[in-house]
C-alpha cells in the first residue's frame, strides 16, 4: 500500500488499485484514474455541463454512467503500480488527489490563486493553441478569470438550428464518445446547442501540479478535437445525404441487432 494514499483512506483492492468509500483509484504507468458513482439521477444525455470546476466528467461503464477524473502521472514523476516507490515525491501526488476528491465533493477553495494568463500561456507553445485537421482549423482559448482556469476549443463553432433530430442525436453520441475516449476532456453544448465545445478544466488545481497538468490537458484537447472534428462537421453538413444519419442511433442499434 502506498503510504501517500493512506491519508485519504485508500486501501488496496488489487495491484495498483485502491478504494476509499465509493471512490476507486487506479495507478497506471501513465495515468492516475479515479472513478466514482454518479450522485445524480442518470439523464439520457450526459454531456458536461461545461460549467463545473475540476477534472470530473461522466462516462459510460457497461450499462451505467459513472464519474471519472483522469490525471497524468507526470504530475508526480512516473507513477509505478509497485508498492512504496520511494523515488517519488509524495507531495504532488497527494496534492492532486486532495484537489480531485474535494472537487468531487463540491468544495471550492476560496483562497485558490488563479495564475495569470501570461504565466499559463508561457507553459504552452502557439502550436498548442491552434488545432488543425484537414480543412478544419480551430483556435483554443484559455479561460483564466480568477475563479476558473480551463482550456477550451470549439468542435463546432456553429450548429445549424434546423439540424434534424436524428442527426442531433448522432452528434450527441459523437460528443459522448469523444468525452469517453480522450482523457481529461469534457464535451458539451453551449448557448442552446448553437456550438459544441471541448474543454479541460484546471480550476482549483494546486500550483505544484499545474504546469504538467496544463501541458497534458492542452495535448488531450488537441487530440480530442482533431479526432472528432471531421465527423462532427459531416454530421451537420445538410448537403450530405446518408440514410444512416436519418435514423436515430438507438433505432440504428436495434436494426443492427435484428440483422445479426
Amino acid at each position: 500500500m502506498r503510504s501517500e494514499l493512506a491519508e485519504f483512506g485508500f486501501h488496496t483492492v488489487a495491484p495498483g488499485r485502491y478504494r476509499s468509500g465509493d471512490v476507486e483509484l487506479e495507478l497506471r504507468a501513465d495515468w492516475l484514474v479515479l472513478r466514482a458513482p454518479r450522485r445524480t439521477h442518470a439523464r439520457k444525455l450526459d454531456l458536461g455541463p461545461l460549467d463545473e470546476r475540476g477534472p470530473w466528467k461522466s462516462v459510460a461503464e457497461g450499462r451505467h454512467r459513472i464519474r471519472v477524473a483522469e490525471l497524468p502521472a507526470r504530475i508526480s514523476g512516473r507513477i509505478s503500480a509497485d508498492a512504496d516507490d520511494a523515488t517519488l515525491s509524495a507531495s504532488p501526488l497527494q496534492d492532486a488527489i486532495r484537489w480531485t476528491l474535494r472537487a468531487r465533493d463540491g468544495f471550492w477553495d476560496d483562497s485558490w490563486n488563479c495564475p495569470s494568463r501570461d504565466q499559463v500561456l508561457s507553459w504552452l507553445s502557439p502550436e498548442n493553441m491552434t488545432i488543425a485537421s484537414g480543412r478544419h482549423a480551430r483556435q483554443a482559448e484559455l479561460v483564466a478569470d480568477g475563479s476558473r482556469l480551463a482550456l477550451r476549443a470549439a468542435i463546432l463553432p456553429t450548429i445549424p438550428q434546423e439540424l434534424p433530430a436524428p442527426r442531433a442525436a448522432w452528434l450527441d453520441e459523437l460528443l459522448m464518445e469523444t468525452q469517453a475516449h480522450w482523457r481529461m476532456v469534457r464535451t458539451g453544448y453551449v448557448d442552446s446547442r448553437s456550438s459544441a465545445m471541448a474543454e479541460v478544466d484546471f480550476s482549483g488545481a494546486p500550483l505544484s501540479i499545474l504546469e504538467p497538468l496544463v501541458r497534458a490537458g492542452a495535448a488531450a484537447l488537441h487530440a480530442a478535437v482533431c479526432w472528432s472534428i471531421r465527423s462532427a462537421d459531416f454530421l451537420i453538413d445538410l448537403q450530405q445525404t446518408c440514410y444512416c444519419l436519418e435514423v436515430r442511433p438507438s433505432r440504428a442499434a436495434c436494426v443492427m441487432q435484428a440483422g445479426k
Partner: protein, 97 residues
C-alpha cells in the same frame, strides 16, 4: 472553503462569432465562401484552405487581401487583418529570382 463548485457559463465568454470571407486560388479555378474563428492565425487558415481548395500541399502558400494586395501576416490572427466579406487569394509564396 465553499460548496459552490459550479459557475454560470455564458457563451459571451466563448468565441462563437465567425468571420466570413470569400477566397479564390491564384488560378481562379476554385473559390469558396469561408467562415472561420477570427482568432485563428492566418497560417492555420491558409493550411485549411489549401486542403479545402485541393491545392498541392508541398507548396508554400499565403493569403493575399485583394483590397490592398498585401500578404497577410502568418503569425497574426486573421481577425485583426481583414474585415468581414473580404476577398482573399490563396497565392504561392515562391520567389522567382
Amino acid at each position: 472553503m465553499s460548496m459552490e463548485n459550479t459557475l454560470s457559463l455564458s457563451s459571451e465568454t466563448l468565441e462563437t462569432a465567425m468571420l466570413s470571407f470569400h477566397v479564390v486560388d491564384v488560378t481562379n479555378s476554385h473559390a469558396a465562401e469561408v467562415s472561420v474563428q477570427p482568432s485563428l492565425p492566418a497560417a492555420a487558415v491558409t493550411r485549411s484552405l489549401v486542403v479545402q481548395l485541393e491545392l498541392p500541399d508541398h507548396t508554400p502558400f499565403g493569403l493575399r487581401d485583394e483590397s490592398t494586395g498585401a500578404f497577410l501576416d502568418d503569425t497574426k490572427s486573421i481577425g485583426e487583418q481583414i474585415t468581414p466579406g473580404a476577398r482573399l487569394t490563396v497565392t504561392t509564396k515562391t520567389h522567382l529570382g
